[in-house]
Symmetry: C2
Subunit: 262 residues, 2 copies
């Protein structure tokens, strides 16, 4: 039988702090004929963060001395600079309009803070704990409907040496994020060279094709037909910069660890 | 109406040099009910390269002095090292078992040479000109069936700061690879911050979920329902390392150009 799957963009009303995302999903999934066992639900991080109240009103922020310096140096609003500093593990540089942050093991412009789709005068930070949010939504859907799903929290990000953003999974629950095919064989019976597939990132990218960044109000997607990736696993595993092919080469790190990954 | 699309993995027999990929696709598309106008066809680069005869028999290769040195330093077979050197724009380093190449503006282990799924004693290099191959297949399908498609040639690659490989488009024809949403507004009427979406990369990632790297013999996928991305555009635009967020930061390059991209 042909292997196939389907992706449905799920439209909602405008989300606001305090909204129950699981209930909204159960309700709006009717657009895709209702949730089915084995569905994977992809949720845009900005919508999730909004519902979770990760909204900072800039007029409530008092900029630190550091924020004032960055503000001047990179032409970034000083209270926004302060929120970026607070949300970052560290600031590694800046460009006009943006600070470059290290956060949760990756490089992010403005610590992933979204000015787009935030209420006027406010910004939306990344969800505090996307894996935990994914689990909460999974469990609530299971409890209310008896339906078992996989949940991905997705962000749209720039990738090394590629033009344009595509999807990455920043949180997940109830499914395998990265498959490990070490030991599997190729068409001629030899061991595979590419062994780890970023399933959750690929599903996030697929979902993004129906979600959009603009004013479409489509903060989630249902991916149907990939239930083989559902499992009792959870979480997105990060890597060290020195263990990243791109950062590692540019940093001239020892990349011998990659032997077993490529 | 709900926005949705469907992805079908297309199984084939074992491909060999000289096979006509367009004819195979027309024939095997019957698994998805036959090709339809507006379908986007994703083709695995290794299968395309095999059909195009980009297969190098290692016993025909004479290693250079440079190849012998790399072979010793990184424990890589000396004739394979020679093919990697010939296929690379430059060699920027190595790790046990792999040389790290710059090729077509990106960093690739072993210049993208695939040992998996190549005939015994041989390796498959990247297709010579993936954009041209995409156009050839597009035109042949159009000529033989009257059906207009978008074509993507896809590879599975490692991404900065992510665990596992996901899809990237290394060639395309008849569709828009990267959308530019500059000027579009968000839910509150403000200009979007994320403006360029890597549509072709996201479609390649979606397709990869049905294709697999192992012995599944699924070297292509049909993506149905995204005909809005078909256009008279072609090609995948590359970027300079200094203009990449990850490489640029690690290289301490001036990233001010990103102002208009993020």
């Amino acid at each position: 039988m042909v292997s196939s799957f389907q992706v449905f963009g799920i439209k909602t009303g405008l989300l606001k702090p305090g909204d129950n995302f699981a209930e909204i999903l159960i309700d709006e999934a009717k657009q895709a004929g209702g949730l089915l066992d084995g569905d994977i639900i992809v949720i845009a991080e900005s919508a999730l963060a909004t519902a979770e109240g990760a909204v900072v009103r800039l007029k409530d922020v008092i900029p630190s001395k550091e924020a004032l310096e960055y503000s001047k140096k990179y032409g970034i609003e000083e209270r926004l600079a302060e929120v970026v500093i607070q949300e970052s593990d560290s600031i590694v540089g800046g460009i006009p309009g943006f600070l470059l942050s290290m956060k949760n093991g990756t490089l992010l412009p403005n610590a992933g803070i979204d000015g787009s789709n935030a209420p006027p005068g406010a910004v939306v930070t990344l969800p505090k704990d996307p894996d935990k949010s994914a689990r909460k939504i999974h469990d609530e859907i299971l409890l209310k409907t008896g339906i078992n799903t996989g949940i991905i929290v997705a962000d749209s990000r720039t990738h090394a040496m590629r033009l344009g953003c595509s999807g990455v999974a920043i949180g997940c629950y109830g499914m395998t994020a990265v498959t490990d095919e070490r030991g599997k064989t190729d068409l001629f019976g030899r061991e595979l060279e590419v062994t780890q597939l970023a399933i959750a990132d690929s599903i996030a990218s697929a979902a993004e094709l129906t979600m959009g960044e603009a004013n479409e109000c489509t903060p989630a997607a249902i991916v149907r037909g990939l239930s083989r990736y559902l499992s009792d696993e959870s979480g997105i595993e990060g890597i060290e910069p020195s263990k990243c092919l791109f950062m590692g080469v540019a940093m001239k790190a020892d990349l011998s660890f990659m032997k077993n990954q490529l």
